[in-house]
Symmetry: C2
């Protein structure tokens, strides 16, 4: 059964385990590891002699679980090679993939070629790199940065690796926000663009650190887990769609990179740019507006950094044939008054219904207007008026209802969105003037109240900047579905000072 390899091969008995690891792990005894010349976290090749299926797995070592010549297989591995209990496997040490050497090249500060970056991305996508390898790569990227050529190469590699939408209509427009804090401009912008006769297959994310992502809010209105085919069909027919990007594998390697970046809170600039642009290229975008909030509380802290980053977005866009414009926006003030999936969806619907025209409505029209101008669908300087007209005429609302229906409607109007069971207002403890609204702190309170897991949880801001208030004035209202979470949110709100006041009367002298 043992065929001729150039490495020592050991026949071992498969012991499948009922555990998924989302990576390929095989467990052997210390003695067998020594025989094979491998250490924990090294790689071994496995060939199932029954069906010839093979895989490369990462070694873990046990002293107690298995006997010599037995090999424990995580379910991911067992499934991949169709291993049944006691199947005979040929097991041998295998070398590191070449991409480990390329990661070390990046560590040394050298520049990677297009081909080398593609190799790394492919190996990440195919689970050939361990978390240790991927972490080293992201750390090296964070420290040494990407050149423009590397960013372009990374973008192309991420695109090549995933699914692509092939929409047979034009022009295809898109919009992206980098680390915005609240306010679902996308839900307002997409129907405006579609109503203007353009096409916008918008994929959005769920919340990671905010109170809600666009996909979380849209999910209150319709189904957001659409297939590539559904996204294509709805966009071609109606002009727009608002879907969860995670449901379609537009850039699976990117999803794996983000999974490693998250626990380190790392987002190397080049990787962020490649990640955004790859998703836009995958949907076939021709014109793209990027909303880049700037301020000490958001990802990009200063105007200088934002301008430098904007130039890179535009350059990468050129290489991909995506005409890109970046709008620097105020990252300090809240956009609209709502935090939480359902509350933000409701606010967007109220804007579309013409019942509210607030900072969120204005920003949405400005972004949409800039996008129409960029695509040549509105004359320079007329974009904002054009989109405001589309919004106020009710055309955008009509289009939004078509989109919601096409995505399997859950709610067609703001009135359909029922509020949370539990609500409690937090009141000002003094007289004063609102000098700062700390959006980060409001988000933490909303998350503590249950956002984004509980759709209806969140908070509604009840004051605005520079407003003069009295002791007892409600500052915001917390919404929750769970009593424990509501109480924790109130505790946090009371000690956290999300709304900063300057006392109008500093001292009384009598």
């Amino acid at each position: 059964m043992v065929k001729k390899y150039n490495r020592f091969v050991q026949l071992m008995k498969a012991k499948p385990l009922d555990i998924y690891a989302k990576k390929f792990v095989a467990i052997i005894t210390e003695i067998d590891a020594k025989q094979l010349g491998v250490f924990p976290l090294d790689r071994i090749g496995l060939v199932n002699t029954r069906n010839k299926k093979c895989i490369t797995a990462i070694v873990d070592v046990t002293t107690t679980m298995f006997k010599e010549n037995e090999i424990g297989l995580f379910k991911d591995v067992a499934d991949f090679i169709g291993a049944k209990p006691n199947d005979k496997l040929e097991v041998m040490a295998v070398s590191q993939p070449d991409s480990v050497k390329l990661i070390k090249k990046k560590m040394r500060g050298e520049t990677l070629t297009e081909q080398e970056i593609k190799q790394i991305v492919d190996d990440i996508a195919q689970n050939k790199l361990t978390e240790i390898d991927a972490s080293a790569f992201i750390t090296a990227t964070y420290i040494n940065g990407y050149s423009l050529e590397e960013t372009v190469a990374m973008t192309k590699a991420l695109v090549d690796d995933g699914n692509k939408l092939k929409i047979k209509k034009s022009p295809i427009l898109d919009k992206h926000s980098i680390g915005g804090l609240n306010g679902r401009a996308t839900i307002i912008l997409v129907p405006i663009i579609a109503a203007a006769g353009c096409y916008i297959p918008k994929t959005s994310s769920r919340s990671i650190t905010s109170a809600a992502g666009t996909a979380d809010s849209m999910e209150c209105l319709a189904n957001v887990s659409l297939s590539v085919e559904q996204i294509k069909r709805i966009t071609e027919k109606i002009g727009g769609v608002i879907t969860w990007g995670g449901a379609v594998e537009l850039a699976p390697a990117d999803d794996k990179i983000i999974k490693i970046e998250h626990p380190l809170s790392l987002d190397p600039e080049g990787q962020v740019i490649a990640s955004v642009m790859a998703k836009k290229a995958s949907v076939g975008a021709e014109y793209l507006i990027i909303d880049l909030p700037v301020g000490p509380e958001v990802k990009v802290a200063t105007k200088e950094k934002a301008e430098a980053m904007a130039k890179k977005f535009i350059e990468v866009g050129k290489h991909l044939g995506i005409k890109t414009e970046v709008l620097l926006t105020d990252g300090e003030e809240p956009c609209g008054n709502n935090f939480g999936a359902m509350l933000e969806a409701k606010e967007a619907m109220l804007v579309l219904e013409g019942k509210v025209f607030n900072s969120l409505a204005q920003k949405s029209c400005e972004l949409a207007g800039a996008l129409l101008e960029l695509a040549g669908k509105a004359k320079k300087g007329t974009g904002y008026e054009t989109t405001k007209e589309i919004l106020q005429s009710g055309k955008a609302l009509k289009k939004m209802k078509e989109i919601i229906k096409a995505q399997g409607a859950r709610a067609l109007s703001s009135a359909d969105l029922k509020e949370a069971k539990l609500k409690q207002k937090v009141l000002s403890e003094t007289d004063g003037e609102v000098t700062k609204i700390n959006v980060r702190k409001l988000i933490m309170i909303a998350r503590t109240a249950g956002a984004p897991a509980d759709q209806k949880a969140g908070l509604v801001l009840l004051v605005e900047h520079n407003q003069k208030i009295r002791k007892g004035t409600p500052l915001f209202e917390i919404h929750a579905e769970n009593k424990q979470k509501l109480e924790l949110a109130i505790d946090l709100a009371k000690k956290d000072g999300a709304i900063e006041l300057q006392k109008i009367i500093i001292e009384k002298i009598v």
Copy 2:
């Protein structure tokens, strides 16, 4: 049962798994992860309500294995909190340990304080950092380097973290080789130093990439898994011991760091220096000789790099009260003729028995002589003659037999060491002169033959540099315990050209 925390707490049913991960992993459903506000690789705190034991674990997420409100526990976690099936656990999200922020500080190129480095080392030792975190730290260290102060701080942190020998004798001497290739100088040097009336509690490593480590070779002669107490007692009584460092937790955090470095083949210089010096400080060394081989095939490629590294060793030694001297040695030529655990043990015993005096014997006496001079136990310039006399008088052999007996003798002489079942000589295919002996390639052949897992496997070199040989002259003899491995080693030997020949007659002109 739920006490007051400042985070949302969910009561979950423990589902212990029969799998060790060597890290603390807990598996929950995607729905519970959302409820808790955590993602895969985030951290959760668990409190066993039955016994109040608690732990921080890393989150993995499943869609199939468990139901809502169930939590799968790897055996490491279940053991730590004494969890039985269906024990009720309080589960909550917990923040990243502070050391993650410190790792990011190192990534940004800033210098870490002594306290900050201690925090990172403690968190690594206590499994609070994931492999992703540790990999990021090592990568940042590799790219940005350590200052001298950071190296000293890392050394102290590694020492504080582990066990310490407290030998009540003086002077305590020690010796270390950085990435040597073959030749067990330690087995000759330790009894010489002990016979000279000094104390040398030598901890050694097993092979990672060589054909044998000192611990592998010594294991052919005696037991090398000694406790701290045994090492102390034997050293105090006999003067010397040769033991496996991995059996005593002298620097457990260091072992974990090395485990991460290995798959990346990374060894940041500062970390290597800290690792070596920590182990020396842990055994209480007062005088230390470092053997630093230099050459293109070993860790340190050039004399300039070796000199810079040597200075750092000496400086760190000063801060720890260890008088340190570094000897740059030739990293190109083999030291002795043997490769493999038993073969290298046998060669060392033959030297001690006075039956052989080769390059290995000479190097051992030089290192031992330098060490005695450093400790003031031999006059300057007389060390080599002193140690050669101790060796040739038979005093070193007598001491070695005492050491072997104290460690539970397996073999007391070279004659007790039986050779492998299978042997095959590899012959020269041409006439010529030996111009290069590629030690790396010889090691690969020895490893393919079964070293170090098979104690008797390896090879014996039969030619020397500049030797003129004929077609058919034996170049080396491969030893193996397993036919498949022998054949693979022969295949490798034939195609790999470990011995380079210059043809004496380049061309015949007739």
